[in-house]
């Protein structure tokens, strides 16, 4: 299942520890919520990591789907009625996939630097659409008054108003997301995608339609990005245009590269470290961007394979 010792080590350490976290924190609401947000972001970053690191499709507009996930729920669900979580998860994923298909057809006509700019511009377009709209609350966004219920055949699995329950939902989602990507990469589809990234011309010559495979990957990653945004909207009970802003995309890209591109578990690592540093710097100084920015610059210059690469080199040396 896992490619190397570092990955195995991380997964075996992270998930059991994450499982115990609410107990260790004595269910302290603030920290449990904070950690749940990090898990949600990890899903978002992981989907971007797959796209950029595994498919070679560099996007700077992934936040389009993150915001879309939240907005889709607000648009679809009735305002004062609890809806079924699983059903609406399906709706959000399905509609986000259709949107991703349309966006994908446009952006995948280009590559490299062009794709970076076009994805960025399309995401900004949606950002302005929502921040200028009156019916979607403009800059203030919209509130979610009633959280969905998670009943399955009358049995309620999670109470979304309970931070600990919500935390476990996020953890389960992240674990499933990692598992899903791992299985995807091991499947025939994943091997063809590897070939597409390695050598698109040769893959075409073998009879595969490169565009279709890229499009499928784009839709999958975008839908999971939307799922993360949907979870974020549920956690905080509101959606806001800033979810779609290019800063959201940029930060996710930073987290993904910080963790080690294409490693997937690195996405979790990168998000954890970035958010940890953010939290720490924020306590030290109002201008947390200064140490953060400097650190990012140093990191680009110093280690080139991200934290996962660093971890791997540490673990391999011990062997």
């Amino acid at each position: 299942m896992f490619n190397n010792r570092a990955e195995k080590l991380f997964v075996w350490l992270f998930f059991p520890l994450a499982l115990l976290m609410p107990l260790l924190l004595d269910q302290n609401t603030f920290y449990v919520n904070k950690l749940a947000t990090i898990l949600i972001l990890s899903i978002f970053v992981m989907s971007l990591d797959y796209l950029v690191g595994r498919c070679g499709l560099v996007t700077l507009g992934h936040a389009l789907f993150y915001g879309m996930g939240g907005y889709l729920f607000v648009m679809l669900a009735p305002e004062y009625e609890a809806v079924n979580f699983w059903l609406y998860t399906f709706y959000v994923l399905a509609i986000a996939s259709v949107i991703a298909l349309v966006v994908g057809v446009i952006v995948l006509r280009t590559s490299g630097i062009y794709m970076i700019m076009i994805t960025l511009a399309l995401a900004q377009m949606c950002f302005y659409f929502f921040s200028d709209s009156t019916e979607f609350g403009g800059n203030d966004g919209l509130f979610i008054f009633v959280k969905p219920e998670t009943d399955v055949f009358g049995l309620s699995l999670f109470d979304l108003d309970n931070p600990t329950h919500f935390y476990y939902l996020c953890l389960l989602s992240l674990f499933n997301c990692l598992l899903f990507f791992k299985l995807l990469m091991r499947s025939k589809f994943g091997r063809i995608m590897d070939a597409v990234q390695e050598n698109p011309e040769r893959t075409t010559a073998l009879g595969y339609n490169v565009l279709h495979f890229r499009l499928a990957s784009y839709v999958i990653a975008s839908a999971l990005g939307a799922y993360a945004g949907y979870l974020f909207a549920l956690q905080y009970g509101f959606v806001n245009p800033s979810m779609l802003s290019w800063q959201t995309s940029g930060t996710a890209l930073v987290m993904s590269i910080l963790g080690g591109l294409g490693t997937l578990y690195g996405a979790i690592l990168g998000t954890l470290v970035y958010e940890g540093l953010h939290y720490g710097f924020e306590h030290l100084t109002e201008n947390w961007l200064l140490p953060m920015g400097s650190l990012i610059i140093l990191m680009v210059l110093a280690f080139r394979h991200g934290l996962a690469g660093y971890l791997e080199s540490l673990v391999e040396k011990r062997k």
């Binding site: 446009i106 062009y114 377009m125 200028d132 290019w246 590269i257 200064l290």
Partner: protein, 287 residues
């Protein structure tokens, strides 16, 4: 819309377009010659505006402030290229994106540290303060005409430098084959430093001359950066001519849509971009 109002808005659109051209040409010059995607380019525009505000207040003269600010920007460009960008030439675009996002963070933090988060205003210099009548009804501000004229002059200067001088020849040669130019005994490193610093200075000059027209606020750089991306994508990455045409299109569309279609005006330039890309995926003047 009657004809004078149309003319007035057209002039505004062209003026905004010319300013965008100044910024976008720097972005595309650096990319075209050095292959560097500088996301912090918008920050340089912001730096220009803030420097202009600061030096107008300390020296009292807009002209002096503009010259000092432009020189500082040029030096800043040299510093950034020598210390950071120089390490990125053999790296991929992702590393460039990451490093320049880091730079945006640093510049935003420095800006709020030095000058706070309140919007600042710069007065139009007295010798350019006035308006000339277009018709009996409408007057056009002299300062905006001055900015347009300056942008055109810089544009012509850039065109002549790139196409008619030895330096321009080297820049064009470096664009096609870096190693070959190096073999011919040209100090390519110095050439690159110069191009990068020129790019920074172009953005900063746009910021300096914008300062009396807009309010100087945090985040102004990012807003303009995204518009420049649209310009460059429409025109074709790396093409100065494309930047010029793209900037005028964006400037005019943006200005007219804000009076005619205010509900969707901020989206219009992106729609324009999407339409252009559907027809020509690599922009209008892609090489």
């Amino acid at each position: 819309m009657d004809i004078t109002l149309f003319l007035f808005q057209l002039m505004n659109g062209v003026q905004y377009g010319l300013l965008l051209f100044l910024i976008a040409s720097g972005l595309t010059l650096v990319f075209g010659v050095m292959g560097i995607l500088n996301l912090a380019h918008g920050s340089m525009y912001m730096v220009g505006a803030y420097l202009a505000w600061y030096f107008v207040n300390t020296t009292g003269s807009f002209g002096v402030a503009a010259v000092i600010s432009a020189i500082i920007a040029l030096l800043l460009g040299i510093l950034i290229e020598r210390t950071l960008i120089i390490r990125l030439y053999r790296r991929n675009h992702l590393d460039q994106v990451l490093l320049t996002i880091g730079l945006i963070f640093v510049f935003n933090a420095l800006q709020s540290l030095l000058w706070g988060n309140d919007p600042l205003g710069v007065a139009v210099p007295a010798w350019l303060d006035g308006a000339i009548p277009l018709t009996e009804m409408i007057e056009y501000p002299v300062y905006r005409l001055f900015v347009s004229g300056l942008c055109i002059l810089i544009g012509i200067g850039m065109y002549l430098t790139i196409n008619r001088t030895r330096l321009g020849m080297l820049i064009r040669a470096g664009e096609s084959n870096r190693d070959m130019v190096e073999c011919l005994g040209v100090d390519i490193n110095r050439l690159y430093t110069l191009v990068f610093a020129a790019g920074v200075a172009l953005a900063a000059i746009a910021g300096i001359v914008s300062a009396p027209m807009v309010s100087v606020v945090p985040g102004m750089g990012e807003h303009v950066l995204i518009s420049c991306f649209v310009v460059v994508v429409i025109g074709g990455m790396g093409s100065i001519k494309g930047a010029f045409v793209g900037a005028l299109m964006v400037g005019i569309v943006d200005t007219f849509s804000s009076i005619m279609l205010p509900q969707v005006s901020s989206m219009m330039i992106y729609i324009l971009m999407a339409v252009v890309l559907l027809i020509r995926p690599r922009g209008l003047f892609a090489s």
